[in-house]
């Protein structure tokens, strides 16, 4: 039997299985994960989101502190390619104010006499300066309209701030607070859960009771109380750190419990006893055998918990307990949608919700895929 390119089929198969035999747990997981289409798509979506957040200051035309007093509540501007049948490349028309003949509300309309091309990799206006990753000062932006023109891809808010910029800058907070919070939860939960699960006895009893006490507080009010305690004068960066601490302080008990139960079940495994008989000290037993044996489950658990943290942060900020303008997050942006009027006349202000929705959904699907791949030996 031969395959297309002439190599014997048996040899090809051998090569394939060889790869399988040499594959570590994580490689086997990756193989299984790649077969889960929805999870792969979600992972790509999340990667794009995170890249956008990391390069946020560059992609967003406006900085957090900039605003345009003349363009309050402006709807999304259209980007055109053709003017009167001629190809010009991407451009926007100028904006003029009109009154609606029925409601007398101020409205923006396109002034087709004025054409402003969109320039790519352009220097931004004054106030658009930023430090990339907090280190490299720059004012380079992905796109800007020519002098005098305005591009508001997602419209503006009631202070004339570009919503597109704010959604992207908000992603930096809304997407990173849950991840940093989760990492802190992981450290706390692993440490405390390991203590309880490995030593058992009175250590376990004490930790279990503490967990029960912490868990018996309702989560949202606890978040609210802790967030309300953040001084109003704090810098956004400090508020960010405090919020991650708050989120992890509230969510570690759940993880600690999972870790503890995993420890108790894995303690009875033969390969753990085998390692002990080999003379492995407790520290090696925990770090080399026990934690690796359930780490994949823990990671899955944490991925599945991130959506609730995204929603948690959004909720807190929406209620005005998290970050405050001009610092921004998706929750802060949604604060403006708490009036019926907004939804009726300025429905573009709901766009941030779409991003919350998409990222929560993507994390859930990715978690599903990870869960299916978590134990490649079964």
């Amino acid at each position: 039997m031969k395959t297309k390119n002439g190599t014997p089929a048996r040899k090809v198969q051998e090569k394939k299985s060889d790869k399988y035999y040499y594959a570590s747990q994580w490689r086997l997981m990756a193989r299984k994960f790649r077969r889960h289409k929805l999870a792969m798509v979600s992972t790509v979506v999340l990667l794009i989101f995170y890249l956008i957040a990391i390069f946020g200051n560059f992609i967003a035309p406006q900085g957090t502190e900039q605003y345009e007093g003349r363009y309050v509540n402006c709807p999304p501007t259209r980007v055109h390619l053709f003017h009167e049948g001629k190809l010009i490349g991407p451009f926007v028309y100028g904006l003029k104010t009109e009154r609606d003949p029925v409601t007398y509300m101020a409205q923006f309309a396109e002034n087709t006499e004025k054409i402003y091309r969109i320039r790519f990799f352009a220097q931004g206006d004054e106030g658009g300066e930023y430090r990339w990753l907090g280190l490299f000062p720059s004012n380079l932006h992905l796109f800007e309209a020519e002098e005098g023109g305005r591009v508001f891809l997602f419209g503006t808010d009631n202070m004339g701030r570009d919503l597109f910029s704010r959604v992207i800058l908000g992603a930096q907070i809304s997407l990173f607070i849950p991840v940093v919070g989760m990492l802190m939860t992981l450290v706390l939960g692993l440490a405390i859960g390991s203590l309880a699960g490995y030593f058992g006895g009175w250590v376990d009893t004490v930790i279990q009771r503490v967990i029960e006490v912490v868990r018996s507080f309702p989560q949202v009010p606890l978040w609210m109380a802790l967030s309300a305690a953040i001084p109003k004068t704090m810098k956004p960066a400090q508020v960010f750190m405090l919020m991650t601490v708050i989120l992890s302080l509230v969510s570690w008990p759940g993880l600690a419990r999972v870790v503890r139960s995993k420890f108790i079940s894995v303690k009875k495994e033969d390969f753990i006893m085998a390692a002990r008989i080999s003379g492995a000290p407790a520290s090696k037993l925990i770090t080399r055998h026990m934690i690796p044996s359930f780490l994949s489950y823990i990671i899955v658990d944490m991925t599945m918990a991130i959506p609730s943290l995204i929603i948690g942060e959004t909720t807190l900020s929406f209620l005005g307990l998290g970050l405050r303008s001009p610092a921004t997050s998706w929750g802060v942006l949604l604060q403006e949608t708490n009036k019926l009027e907004t939804i009726m006349f300025y429905n573009w202000k709901l766009i941030p919700m779409l991003f919350v929705f998409l990222s929560v959904l993507a994390f859930n699907f990715m978690g599903d895929g990870l869960r299916d791949a978590a134990d490649p030996y079964k």
């Binding site: 399988y20 035999y21 040499y22 594959a23 570590s24 747990q25 086997l28 495994e269 033969d270 390969f271 006893m273 085998a274 390692a275 002990r276 008989i277 080999s278 003379g279 492995a280 000290p281 090696k284 055998h289 690796p292 044996s293 030996y377």
Partner: protein, 324 residues
């Protein structure tokens, strides 16, 4: 140096759980000589595995001593200090029953086999590699496969990996806990031959725990029969298999399948079931199922009595001799 390797004295293990205590092992005594193989048999739940695990300190015994005869004199392995453990841990190793559960699936075969060396010796990376290569060859593992993970191997190959791991420290005693029970019969034979070869080469001592009586008969020098956590009979393998003295041993041996269809066997069918170890019968644990039980058996536990080198725990020892 005397010829005794290990003395197990009054070893007991009680499992306590929510007010119910189960005596898995009660006052077991056993003297193990250097280089011999002791078979430990009994039905499920009789305490064979608990005995093995207590001896290697895989679990902590409730009371009793495991006296280990070393160059530095006799030490109690169960109460050994940190420094003593460091020195003698490597002398008592174990082969596990389930070759699938006893290998960490997240480590390569090389890491699994070399792990004991990392904890017990100060060998360089190169020395470790040589030691692993040597042992792999001895147990019949292809060197080229050492960088693979356990999931790439069959049951028999995995058991070879487990044997290599237990051998790499050159121990004096190996507890084989049902070491071949999970394998196919043909593979069983291979592994048993391997164990025998290794025993000759390294002058190993085995505690061979198994419920497979034919295997035990083949490999053991002496056999210990257990019932509900107690030793009921102990003696030379051939003598014990030819003339079992305890009624339980008789019943157990009569259950061995006979390959020759022309030989008819009088099966001794035991009545009743294995009693609940949490609430064992009074006196001799075996009396509710024993055909020869008397009033004395119901109230007093029989001591082990020496009958010409055979230890038997039975009040009515003479009675049933004509039967076999």
């Amino acid at each position: 140096m005397d010829n005794v390797l290990l003395e197990i004295r009054n070893l007991s293990k009680v499992y306590d759980s929510k007010g119910v205590s189960v005596r898995a092992l009660s006052d077991v005594n056993l003297t193990v000589m250097r280089g011999e193989t002791i078979g430990i048999v009994g039905e499920s739940g009789c305490g064979k595995t608990t005995l093995g695990r207590c001896v290697v300190r895989g679990i902590d015994a409730t009371s009793g001593e495991v006296l280990f005869h070393t160059e530095d004199g006799v030490i109690d392995f169960l109460k050994a200090t940190g420094a003593q453990m460091k020195k003698y841990r490597k002398d008592i190793q174990m082969i596990f029953q389930d070759p699938y559960a006893s290998l960490d699936p997240r480590m390569t075969v090389f890491d699994i086999i070399s792990e004991p060396l990392r904890y017990n010796t100060r060998m360089s990376a190169k020395e470790i590699e040589q030691a692993v290569d040597r042992i792999a060859e001895q147990v019949g593992l292809n060197k080229a496969y050492l960088r693979r993970y356990p999931h790439a191997f069959s049951g028999g190959q995995r058991q070879r990996i487990g044997i290599a791991r237990s051998l790499i420290l050159q121990p004096k005693l190996i507890v084989c806990d049902e070491a071949v029970s999970a394998l196919d019969v043909s593979i069983q034979a291979q592994i048993i031959n391997l164990l025998e070869d290794l025993q000759k080469e390294y002058h190993l001592t085995y505690l061979f725990i198994s419920h497979a009586l034919s295997v035990v008969r083949h490999i053991s020098d002496r056999v210990m029969v257990m019932y509900l956590g107690r030793m009921v009979e102990f003696g030379e393998t051939e003598a014990l298999f030819a003339h079992p003295m305890h009624p339980y041993t008789q019943a157990l041996l009569s259950a061995v399948p006979q390959p020759d269809p022309d030989i008819s066997v009088d099966r001794i069918i035991l009545e009743g079931e294995v009693p609940n170890p949490a609430n064992p019968p009074s006196g001799c644990h075996f009396h509710p199922r024993c055909a020869y039980a008397t009033e004395r058996c119901r109230t007093e536990a029989p001591p082990l009595v020496n009958h010409d080198g055979r230890l038997v725990a039975c009040w009515e020892c003479g009675k049933c001799q004509g039967k076999t």
